[in-house]
């Protein structure tokens, strides 16, 4: 631990001072007889990077799907921004400020990078069909205004050179970055990243880590992150929640979680 690194107490104090953005209380989700998530409670605070980790099949992705309304939990209370939500649809979650990226790249393959990111702003564009058919007046102004925002994101993530390239032809690392750009175009308050570094080489991982920190730091976006690379998780995140078989087994700052015997058991296995 270098001199610059904050001590454990400092990290904890920082986390406690923050407001809660998303709170999950006793959330359970099952598909028929299969229990994907059992009675999980945790919260995500404003401005933090919150990692969700666990072995395969622990329910991490299901957790994200619950948060952005793709799955409806059978039990539990979810409070976002102080508001209890009853039922949720993914496209409504976006308008509330929740954006996400996917484990497998889910870009619109036939469209250019620019169009993909512009599509992320679909819900913010309001001009009606008639104006759009003319592409003139308000419709053109709206298009340009959003283009400016999108260009800012393109600059931020350093993808200027692939603006016009169809995303289907891009290398994997860049596709992941375009996906992050599309999520940022939604100007989310809470950004859900599902394995942003899966399948990347070291250099791409370093780039992506830098972008995640920059997004968190400069744009003030709260980030919930699923990742298998423990080095990345422990370095980036402020707090970590650990799931195993749909249950929460640990929650806390990286140092605490790392030394938790249950977490070590879940990852390394334990002899019975």
């Amino acid at each position: 631990m270098s001199v610059m690194d904050p001590t454990l107490e400092e990290v904890k104090r920082k986390a406690e001072g923050r407001e809660v953005l998303l709170d999950l209380e006793n959330v359970s989700l099952s598909f028929g007889g299969v229990k994907a998530i059992t009675n999980i409670s945790f919260n995500i605070k404003k401005g933090e990077i919150r990692a969700i980790i666990g072995p395969n099949g622990a329910g991490k992705t299901s957790m994200l799907n619950v948060i952005n309304g793709f799955y409806q939990p059978q039990e539990g209370v979810i409070t976002f921004n102080g508001e209890k939500r009853r039922s949720m649809k993914p496209h409504l979650a976006v308008s509330q400020g929740i954006a996400r990226t996917f484990q497998n790249v889910a870009l619109f393959k036939g469209m250019s990078t620019l169009d993909n990111i512009m599509a992320g702003r679909a819900t913010r564009m309001k001009q009606n069909m008639l104006w759009q058919m003319l592409y003139w007046g308000p419709a053109q102004r709206e298009e340009i205004e959003h283009r400016k925002k999108v260009e800012e994101i393109i600059d931020f993530l350093e993808i200027q050179h692939i603006r016009r390239t169809p995303v289907g032809t891009l290398p994997y690392g860049l596709q992941k970055r375009v996906e992050l750009a599309r999520a940022l175009a939604m100007e989310p308050e809470l950004l859900l990243l599902d394995e942003p570094m899966a399948g990347m080489n070291l250099e791409e991982k370093e780039d992506m880590s830098r972008f995640i920190l920059d997004v968190n730091d400069q744009l003030g976006t709260t980030i919930a992150l699923i990742e298998h690379d423990m080095g990345v998780v422990m370095d980036l995140s402020d707090r970590v929640v650990v799931l195993d078989y749909g249950r929460k087994i640990a929650d806390g700052v990286p140092e605490e979680v790392q030394s938790n015997p249950e977490v070590i058991d879940a990852y390394l296995g334990v002899s019975h």
């Binding site: 952005n68 793709f70 993914p90 496209h91 976006v94 308008s95 954006a99 996400r100 996917f102 889910a106 870009l107 619109f108 393959k109 036939g110 469209m111 169009d115 512009m118 599509a119 992320g120 679909a122 819900t123 564009m125 001009q127 069909m129 759009q132 058919m133 003319l134 592409y135 419709a139 053109q140 298009e143 340009i144 283009r147 400016k148 260009e151 599309r182 939604m186």
Partner: protein, 358 residues
């Protein structure tokens, strides 16, 4: 060589997002429009209008409508001809009920009826995808043709069961019916096709186009960037059927002059699907290229032996025709599965960087 883009700098997003970011494209379009509006009418005979120009334009428009649905929004449809029929019959009823109405207004109004029917038959798309949806649209095809036959009110209780367009004029100019001059009809068709095409180019490069393409490429991701799938799909059905309906109405009013229900049967649906696929799904220009290949080429091939002084029986020619067109379609699909529009895009790209290989 012709497409030298050096020296054309973009300093504003406005100019970067202009309809023609490259100057040469605009010049090309002006040349084509000049040919369509000025040069063709100087030479064309009545036969050229009736057999070549007007059919190509109308089929292009119908294919454009289908392309919005299938090429942009990714919803496969085999019911195009049925929706064309709705447009035609709606226009027929509108002109019967309001005999004084301007035919162009009636035409644009009839599109709303086909749009409504299209949305109704598009509802299954919210649940099913791909080939299963194609079968559902096929049902609309059968149902609509059956309706045109059985609902006598639609054809004003004619003994023949067909709709016949009466003579109508705009400011003294006869535009429909047997006495209308083909030149006038050609200009009306050309004008309407130009306007609709312009509107669709704009629509497809803006928010709606992106929304539709997002639904086509990955509907789950589209939903998670905040796109309402139901609205996106149904708006595609509405816009598509609107255009297809206008094309159907124009087919009857400005070209055929009369129509029986079986005109709007499956063969025409398939023909329009072929035009869209060969022209290029997800492209506006492709529809025109496809229509030229599928609609105009057979006519030209039929005339060819006569022009070359060969005496081939018309029955033989008919067979040769089918063979030539068939092999051309296969060839184009092998050379460029993404259609003629992509073919042109590749040529254009090569021209821009010529003489360098990349």
């Amino acid at each position: 060589m012709f497409y030298r883009t050096s020296g054309q700098f973009k300093t504003t997003y406005e100019s970067d997002q202009a309809l023609f970011p490259i100057k040469q494209d605009m010049i090309l379009l002006v040349v084509i429009l000049a040919a369509m509006y000025v040069i063709f009418p100087m030479f064309a005979s009545e036969f050229t209008y009736k057999a070549l120009l007007v059919p190509v334009l109308i089929y292009s428009l119908a294919s454009l409508g289908l392309n919005i649905l299938t090429g942009y929004a990714g919803q496969l449809s085999l019911g195009t001809a049925g929706f064309m029929g709705v447009g035609a019959y709606a226009c027929y009823k509108i002109t019967t009920i309001f005999p004084e109405m301007n035919i162009v207004i009636a035409l644009f109004l009839s599109g709303f009826f086909s749009a409504a029917v299209g949305v109704a038959f598009g509802l299954p798309s919210l649940r099913i995808k791909g080939f299963y949806l194609a079968i559902a649209t096929l049902a609309s095809q059968f149902f609509l043709v059956w309706l045109f036959e059985k609902w006598a009110w639609l054809y004003n209780y004619n003994a023949s069961g067909a709709i016949e367009v009466r003579t109508m004029d705009i400011f003294g100019l006869v535009v429909t019916g047997p006495t209308a001059s083909p030149v006038v009809q050609y200009y009306f068709v050309l004008g309407i096709v130009s306007v609709v095409t312009f509107a669709m180019i704009n629509l497809t490069r803006g928010r709606y186009g992106r929304t539709w393409k997002a639904v086509r490429d990955m509907d789950i991701a589209a939903e998670l960037v905040g796109i309402n799938l139901m609205r996106a799909k149904l708006s595609a059905f509405a816009v598509s059927s609107y255009i297809v309906g206008i094309a159907g109405a124009m087919m009857v009013f400005f070209w055929k002059g009369a129509a029986e229900p079986n005109l709007f049967d499956i063969p025409m649906s398939f023909q329009i699907v072929f035009i869209a696929i060969i022209g290029g799904l997800g492209s506006v220009m492709g529809n025109f290229l496809g229509a030229i290949l599928i609609v105009a080429l057979p006519v030209v091939l039929n005339l060819l032996p006569e022009l070359l002084g060969l005496s081939i029986g018309s029955a033989t020619m008919e067979h040769v025709n089918v063979m030539v067109i068939g092999s051309l379609i296969i060839m184009f699909l092998i050379v460029e599965p993404h259609g003629l529009a992509r073919f042109w895009a590749l040529i254009r790209e090569k021209l821009i960087i010529w003489p360098f290989p990349h």
